[in-house]
Amino acid sequence: MDKMKDIEWAKINKDVLGSLESPRMIFWVVLAVCSLLVAAGVAAEAYQYNEGLGVALMNRPHFWQLYISNFIFWIGMSHSGTLLSAVLLLTNADWRKPIYRFAEAMTLFSILTAAFFPVIHLGRVWNLYWVMPYPNERTIWPNFRSPLLWDASAIFTYATSSALFLYIGMIPDLAICRDNAKGWRKKLYSMLSLGWMGRAREWLAFRKTYVLMGCFLVPLAVSVHSIVASDFAMSIMPDWHITSFPPYFVAGALYSGCAAIITLFVMLRYIFKFEEYMTVDIMDKIAKLTFAIAMVWNFLNFSEYASIWYSNDMYEKEVLIQKLIGPYWPVVWGMLLCSTVAPFAMAFEKFRQNMWAMFVLSIIIQLGMWLERFQIVSPPLASNHEPWTWAVVWPGTVQMTITAASFGWFTMLFLIFCKVFPSVSMYEVKELVFHHRRVSARSEIEDLDKEKEEALRAQEGVA
């Protein structure tokens, strides 16, 4: 397979900076579609705001539905970005370098998308600010017992931290842009690059900071989805109140996130012509990683089923049965098909190294994970403690529209980012190349030494 070639640094700059100028036509098409979706979503939300939440066709007992599943889905997607950049950073995995930038961007934007849903799904959105802890004359505060509050704080922390992480990591590249850009871009970049000149002390401080932040981000990321999981685990609903939910959610998050990275990987590679940087080799590595995580997730999923089955708790067992043969069976079986069976394709090298195959697979996996989020939320409500209230509801048009809009919103933000900021970290790629050179140079020197020795031995032999 093709490893990353020795590329001229100047060329690196040229290629990456080029991506800011001239993407393929498809870029604009996608962008247009996304903004349309967003517009539709806004309209739907306005309608719901005026009429009341009933138009979303939720009811009793289905107080929560698609909005919450989307919330989990997007939060989940954000995780792998941090995983790739922070974890692989701390473990010095070289191959992360060309791809971590857009992974982080993905993290940030999926959080921003996720943050919408708790708001949209409030009954009285106009009172949202009561959820924030601000001192008021009534000494009424948000209730910090509520996992929703934990969500709020976790998401806030996560959003800000990962935004910072993304930004700090981008400063040297911004400097490069500054040096090459003109017009408004010039102004923008010189403002953002804070006068970075690549002096030794800057580099050292930069590296330290970057690693320190990385250290924070890993536990943060884990905590965030555990807390989202606790929305359910802390409740009393059958099949929500499950101890293994936090790890289960984290695994699922990483899983869907990696799938998302693969998708974007292929997209960017095509749109911005990054073939040289986003090599098949890297894809192969990501695929392996994804496969591993997929297995972890599957294990947790089935162990959950098993624990319910063997615990033989009346309520949870009922839900499990309803999941598998009840009215929601298409969702559950669809999930199992997409997220449990499909990933085994990645066991084959040929498959791993076929970009478009991986692209399709990644989409399938994400669909599966989206279904997984739906089947976490709805079926337990459908067959809850109280048989009398058992009911089935399928999300209506409003919910579906807003869901679609969220995908549009995310993609839109992401594409705009890639258009404005270098989506491949130039300086890190340079380091990558630099180290390759070092290695090759050292090996050459070693070869020379060998020849010398042999020559000497020959002389001795003659003498």
């Binding site: 700059n13 040297p172 800057e202 930069f206």
Partner: protein, 176 residues
Amino acid sequence: MRKKNLKFLFALYEDFDRARDAVAELKILDLKETAVEDIELYSPIEHPEVEEILGEIHQPIQRFTFFGAITGAICAFLLVAAAAQSMFTVQPQGGKAVIPIPADLVITYEGTILFGVWITLLGFFVYSGIPRRLTRLYSRKVSEDQIGIEVQVTPEHADAVRSTLEKSGALEIREV
């Protein structure tokens, strides 16, 4: 420490090894006024070994981080327990404590990380010396693929230094 009427020289090299040799030779020159601090090295990527030639650069950012994390923890817990729950008009709930440790720990945890990250950033700015405006001698080649060396010397030594730099294969030399 910076004196008046100093001269600034800025040389560009095509790779790090050359730049390193140049610095070595400057040292050999042994000019009283030229301390190591007066030599600044610009590079497009990080070179950890730079400290070997320029000497130790002291940047205790981790202290900031530590301090930030502690403050975060304390502030978050105070906000939740003291400010909110103990002053809450209707906090008591059947069967549950007013100040529940597990719940508050979660918030504390997040607070720790939040402050940790932010104050680390502060440390970064303090020690990296940015934000600042670009030096007049800065060349955009540095951000591309060349290594720059900035030396500040008293006028009488300027020529010696310049020649040294040229000898060690500078592609371009600027001065003010």
